[in-house]
Symmetry: C2
Subunit: 415 residues, 2 copies
């Protein structure tokens, strides 16, 4: 008889990360796994032996449906970076002791680059030390910067939120027509990869002009050129809307947000926490041109808006969760489930497994040839790539006019 | 035979302002009005004779349905303040000349306090100078600060957006549990009235703890007390979420956002454009407590998110538009349509007309006894008041995964 399963969620939450959890739980039920454990707050919680029994909360298909409609990590998350095994054997032995004590044989971890690094280190350690556990990664990141996979669950729903909100913002900004032009600068997440910012282009359609300019972090940002383009646009348009990545850098490698007086933080992975790019640029525009400007930051709304989740994204998140569990049950370890798109129109995707060593700690950026030559927009290739990801809705269950979420506040089943 | 109709939209857009336009158009069709004109960009456009024929764009019930699902002012808006009639007779005569030249007998204007002032001045002038035109106001403001009416169309949909997003933000903020507490400060619109900020409390339910603190502009804000409460909350909670109004002022009448280095603008009505309250307070929290903090501004998203429009709000917006036109056809002038709530549970509303002189330029604030004694939350009375406004959805029509909007880019009918 197979051992037990533990599932963890790591890194920034997404609107559909719980769909992957739902898929993994379903696969466990199908396999007849005795106990399905959850890491409470990822591997950081695991190290503190903070482990929950998922079936205290989720016991039916109805629970899974509500779980899929619940944004942000149901189990809680962390940004904990596992130290290298060499010299930290005590940490690794502690993890395996905890797993053994609960007869856990299958370890599923749902996250981005840093989480796949965790899978790699644990599976390498297990192989080197004859441990029985299997480690499989479930991809997740709104940033879409995981290599190997065509795209990443979580991205589609954020892209849908961004494109929908952008469409509404453009309508709002266009409504003042007689007074002076208004320049609206919208800041979108993405430190080094511009996938999310590029998604602003999806708003362009017969009923929406789309943003006037789109700036990705893949291309060095030239402030003088930017101000010149704004001036030129404002000659003929009352509404100018610009999408900028939070991670824009000037040619000499300085983050635009650092040019002002924005605060700078360093997170647990050593990443700089960026904010203030749009605010800074709005200030520059008004100062240099005298035009009215304002800024909007999508902030965490772009990763937690389950009420706008994409059906395509939610389904794929579910599938990679299911298939990760299945792969582990079949004896795979040190692998991540990936998505391959066989055809974009009609959209047909397939799934496979990739050696985690090819995944961890490589960031996939938007190809330079998908960005226009002047660096101010994305090409039709990007639009063809991304359009399928935002199709369809996962309408929330509602009560009193608000979405209902599944929480750990109340146990469903008492043992 | 009755003369023609002109309709204008004024002030900040809302998610349901076009529902009022749809209601007014429907009433015109029912009355058999020959020409239905629209002011392109409100009265500012009218003064430039920028007038459109609404039936160039809207000719069917299907068009009305799509119009109801289109956020922001379909006709364009303005923030133009009509000067007093005395000494500006030329402006008024010009307006009446334009109206006469198109045989316009009925003037419907959809807006907030400033727009109702426009209705008052024009109807007073018409009565004093024996003009035939009738002027009727259609209430609209996300701020809910219009007096006389129980509440105002536009508010419910913004409240629904705020409560839904707040619920999602709280889930997001709660997902990190092992690391240090994170203080998230969310800034919500409302210069002097806290109705929108209060709506954050609607997120509190069995599956959501709601914001920990809610600060409205009706109560002077004490920064020292605020920091003390954050410290106390962070002792027992990993996630602290605070809702603050953009218009918070200290006891000596200073706007909190002005305490930092936030920019200050003055809009056309002489209002200060506020921004930066949450950003400033997040900085104060980190400086004074060492706790991790972040801020979120809902910005214009809270007024243009038609994809989250409330059914109750959309229906009421439609009804006040319809009834304003009907009142004008019946010979009323210098009045605004108002909503009275006969019963909150079950929710039963009725409509009546109010003399515009009792409406214009008075701001309705949240009653002090609906705010807790310590000034950090709203009472159950507020919740009972506001809950009916967010009920039900107006699901957008979608194509390619995005909402479809009706625009003036393409004429539907050629004459």
């Amino acid at each position: 008889m197979k051992g037990n399963v533990i599932i963890g969620q790591s890194g920034g939450p997404t609107a559909v990360i719980n769909s992957s959890l739902a898929g993994a739980v379903k696969a466990c039920w199908k396999e007849g796994i005795r106990r399905i454990y959850g890491m409470h707050y990822g591997i950081e919680g695991l190290l503190q032996e903070d482990i929950v029994d998922i079936e205290d909360y989720i016991t039916s298909g109805q629970d899974l449906s509500l779980l899929k409609r619940t944004p942000s990590s149901f189990l809680g998350t962390c940004r904990y970076k596992l130290p290298p095994a060499e010299g930290n054997e005590d940490v690794y032995e502690k993890i395996f002791d905890i797993l053994d004590s609960k007869n856990i044989e299958f370890f599923l971890y749902n996250g981005g680059n840093d989480s796949m690094d965790t899978i790699k280190q644990l599976s390498d350690y297990a192989l080197a030390h004859q441990k029985k556990q299997k480690f499989v990664g479930i991809p997740k990141t709104i940033d879409n910067d995981l290599p190997v996979t065509d795209h990443c669950p979580g991205y589609g729903s954020s892209a849908k939120y961004i494109a929908t909100s952008m469409k509404e913002i453009i309508r709002d900004n266009e409504s003042y027509g007689v007074s002076k032009p208004t320049i609206c600068i919208v800041e979108i997440m993405g430190r080094h990869a511009g996938w999310l910012t590029a998604a602003a282009a999806l708003s362009k359609d017969i009923d929406c002009s789309g943003p006037d300019l789109i700036y990705l972090p893949e291309v060095p940002f030239d402030i003088k050129d930017f101000v010149g383009r704004i001036k030129e646009l404002a000659k003929n348009k009352k509404s100018v809307v610009v999408a900028v990545s939070e991670g824009l850098q000037t040619k000499d490698g300085k983050f635009v947000c650092e040019l002002g007086n924005a605060n700078e933080h360093i997170d647990a992975f050593g990443h700089k926490a960026l904010a203030g790019t749009a605010a800074y640029l709005a200030g520059v525009v008004t100062k240099e041109t005298g035009l009215k400007s304002r800024y909007i930051e999508f902030s965490s709304l772009q990763r937690c808006a389950a009420h706008l989740a994409s059906r395509a994204d939610s389904d794929e998140a579910y599938n990679v969760g299911f298939l990760a569990a299945k792969a582990a049950f079949e004896g795979q370890t040190g692998v991540m489930v990936t998505i391959k798109v066989e055809s974009r129109e009609p959209y047909v995707e397939t799934y496979s497994l990739f050696d985690i060593h090819d995944v961890a700690n490589v960031e996939k950026k938007v190809p330079i040839n998908w960005i226009t030559n002047d660096g101010t927009y994305v090409s039709d290739e990007f639009l063809s790539y991304a359009r399928p990801f935002i199709i369809g809705r996962v309408p929330p269950y509602t009560a009193g006019g608000l979405p209902v979420h599944l929480t750990m506040n109340k146990k469903r089943k008492h043992k």
